[in-house]
C-alpha cells in the first residue's frame, strides 16, 4: 500500500513538474507547481513526517504559491513567447536531459550508503520531537536561518521604501 501510494504521488510530482515546464500560460505553470508541492507533502506524510508535511502545505502551497498567483494576476501575465532558441538545444535537449539524469541516478546508486536508506514511516514525525531537535541539536543552524530570514525581511522593507519616495 505504501509502495503504491509512494509511486502514485511520485508520479503526480514528476508529472506536475513536467507540466510546469511545457505549459505556455504562466498561471497553468503556477498551478502545476502547487500540484508538485502537494504531492511532496504527501510523500513526507508517507515517510511519517506529518509535521513537515503539513508545514509544507501551509508554507509552500498556502502562502508562497498564493503570492505567485497573486503576482501573476496583478501583472496579468499572458502567454509565454517562443524564444526561437538554437536548433542544437531543440534536437539534443530532451535526450541530453535524459542521459544526464541517468548518469546522475547511476552515480547516486554507486555511492549510496547501504544501510542508511530511510524506510517508509521512519522519520521523526511529531511536532514536539521536531521542536526539541531544533532547539537542542540543530540550534545553531536554526538561529542562523532565522537571522537570514530577518535580513531578507529588512531588505524587502528597504526596497519597498525606496520605490515609494
Amino acid at each position: 500500500m505504501h509502495q503504491f501510494l509512494f509511486l502514485l504521488f511520485g508520479a503526480f510530482c514528476v508529472g506536475g513538474a513536467i507540466n510546469l515546464l511545457i505549459q505556455r500560460k504562466t498561471i497553468n505553470s503556477a498551478l502545476s507547481l502547487i500540484v508538485v508541492m502537494g504531492s511532496l507533502a504527501l510523500i513526507y506524510l508517507l515517510l511519517g513526517a506529518e509535521f513537515v508535511a503539513i508545514v509544507q502545505v501551509i508554507i509552500y502551497a498556502g502562502a508562497i504559491m498564493v503570492l505567485y498567483i497573486f503576482v501573476i494576476m496583478l501583472l496579468n501575465a499572458g502567454q509565454e513567447e517562443d524564444a526561437k532558441g538554437s536548433n542544437v538545444a531543440k534536437i539534443f535537449g530532451i535526450p541530453g536531459l535524459f542521459a544526464g539524469g541517468m548518469i546522475g541516478i547511476w552515480v547516486l546508486l554507486q555511492h549510496r550508503p547501504e544501510e542508511k536508506l530511510i524506510p517508509i514511516g521512519a522519520l521523526y514525525g511529531p511536532a514536539d520531537k521536531v521542536g526539541m531537535m531544533l532547539f537542542t541539536k540543530y540550534l545553531l543552524a536554526f538561529e542562523v536561518t532565522s537571522i537570514l530570514v530577518l535580513i531578507a525581511i529588512m531588505g524587502a522593507v528597504v526596497l519597498a521604501r525606496r520605490s515609494n519616495s
Binding site: 498561471i27 506529518e50 503539513i54 498556502g62 502562502a63 498564493v66 496579468n76 511536532a127
Partner: protein, 357 residues
C-alpha cells in the same frame, strides 16, 4: 475494531456530519435573512412555509433550475475548477473538528469526530497535527477565490479576487498567531487534546476554558481575523456590492454561484467550530446531574451546537451593525494592530507558561 467496521463507522460519520453541516449552512442563510430583516424593521422571508422555514429549499431549487451561463472569453478550465475548489476546501476542514466525546452505540465506541478514533486504552485520539491541517486547508481556500476572479476575465472579478487574496494572506498571519497561546497552554496540536485540556471547573461552576485562562485577547484577535478570512462584514471588500457588483463571483450564475455562497457559509461554520474548540472548551460544558441519563448523553452536542449558534448569530449581528472598512484601513488594522497584538500575546503567554513549568 475490524477494517470493515471501521469503514462503515467512518462512512456513517462522514454522511451524518456532512448532512448536518449542509443543513446548518442552508438555515444560516435563512437565519441571516430573518435576523437582518428584523434589525432593519422588516420581516425577512415569510412566504414559503411557516416563518419562511422552507425558503432554503426554494432557494436551492431556484439555483438548480436557473440557466447556467458561462461568459465568453473566460479561462474555461480554471473557471469551472474554482467554485468546486472553494466548496471542497470549505467542507473538508469540518472533518478535523471534535464535535462530541466518545459515544457507545451497538457495542462500538467512537468519538463524534470524523478523523477521531478510540485507541487501545479507550481514550479518544485524533490526528496529532489537527489544528495545523485546519489552517492548511483554510490557506488553500484562497485559491478558489483567486482563480475565480482571474479566470472570469472581468475587471470587477479580478479586483475582488486581488483584494480577497491580499486580505486572506494578511489576516492568516494574525489568525495563526492568535492560536499559538492556546497551543502553548494545552501543549498539544490535536483538537481533541485541546478540548480535553479544558475539561474541569473552578469552584464547581466556572469552566476552565482558555478564554477564562488569560486567552481573551487571543480570542478577540481570532474572531476579528476570522471575520476577515471568511470575507464577512466589516471585512467584505472582496464582494463589496456597492463598488464591485459582486466581487470575485460576478460572472458566476446558478449552481456555480451557489457553490461560492455555500463555501462562504460553510467557512463561517468551520471558523465558529474552531473558535469554540480553541477558546470555549468545544463540547465541554456544565454537567446537569438532575437530568435523566439518556438526555445527559446529548448534552455535549447541545453545548457545542449552542456555541456554534452563538458565533453564527454574532456574525449576523455584526453584519446588521457595522459598515465596511476602507481598504487601507483594513490593511493597516491587520498589520499594524492585530499582528503586533497577536505577537505580544504569544510572548506574554509563553512567559507565564515558562514560569509555571
Amino acid at each position: 475494531m475490524s477494517a470493515l467496521t471501521f469503514l462503515i463507522v467512518a462512512v456513517i460519520k462522514i454522511a451524518v456530519t456532512l448532512g448536518v453541516l449542509l443543513t446548518v449552512v442552508a438555515y444560516t442563510v435563512w437565519l441571516e435573512r430573518k435576523v437582518v430583516g428584523r434589525m432593519q424593521n422588516r420581516w425577512g422571508p415569510s412566504r414559503v412555509g411557516p416563518f419562511g422555514l422552507l425558503q432554503p429549499l426554494a432557494d436551492g431549487i431556484k439555483f438548480l433550475l436557473k440557466e447556467d451561463l458561462t461568459p465568453p472569453y473566460v479561462e474555461k478550465n480554471i473557471y469551472l475548477l474554482a467554485p468546486g475548489l472553494s466548496l471542497i476546501m470549505a467542507l473538508t476542514s469540518i472533518a478535523l473538528v471534535p464535535i462530541g466525546p466518545v459515544i457507545h452505540l451497538f457495542g462500538i465506541s467512537t468519538p463524534v469526530q470524523i478523523t477521531g478514533v478510540v485507541n487501545a486504552a479507550g481514550q479518544p485520539s485524533d490526528i496529532n497535527v489537527g489544528i495545523l491541517i485546519v489552517l492548511g486547508i483554510t490557506s488553500l481556500g484562497v485559491y478558489g477565490i483567486a482563480l475565480a476572479g482571474w479566470s472570469s476575465n472581468s475587471k470587477y472579478s479580478l479586483l475582488g479576487s486581488l483584494r480577497a487574496s491580499a486580505q486572506m494572506v494578511s489576516y492568516e498571519v494574525s489568525l495563526g498567531l492568535s492560536l499559538v497561546g492556546v497551543l502553548l497552554m494545552s501543549s498539544t496540536l490535536s483538537l481533541s487534546g485541546i478540548v480535553h485540556a479544558q475539561l474541569g471547573t473552578w469552584f464547581g461552576f466556572i469552566p476552565q476554558w482558555f478564554i477564562f485562562r488569560g486567552q481573551f485577547v487571543a480570542f478577540f484577535i481570532y474572531m476579528m481575523a476570522a471575520f476577515a478570512e471568511t470575507n464577512r462584514i466589516p471585512f467584505d471588500l472582496p464582494e463589496a456590492e456597492t463598488e464591485l457588483v459582486a466581487g470575485y463571483h460576478t460572472e458566476y450564475s446558478a449552481m456555480k454561484f451557489a457553490m461560492f455562497f455555500m463555501a462562504e457559509y460553510a467557512n463561517m461554520v468551520t471558523v465558529a467550530c474552531i473558535a469554540s474548540v480553541m477558546f470555549l472548551g468545544g463540547w465541554s460544558g456544565p454537567s446537569l446531574p438532575f437530568l435523566p441519563v439518556a438526555v445527559q448523553a446529548f448534552l455535549p452536542l447541545l453545548w457545542f451546537s449552542s456555541k456554534i449558534f452563538f458565533f453564527l448569530f454574532l456574525y449576523i449581528w455584526i453584519r446588521g451593525t457595522l459598515p465596511r472598512f476602507r481598504y487601507d484601513q483594513l490593511m493597516a488594522f491587520g498589520w499594524k494592530f492585530l499582528f503586533p497584538l497577536a505577537l505580544a500575546n504569544v510572548i506574554v503567554t509563553a512567559f507565564f507558561v515558562a514560569i509555571r513549568a
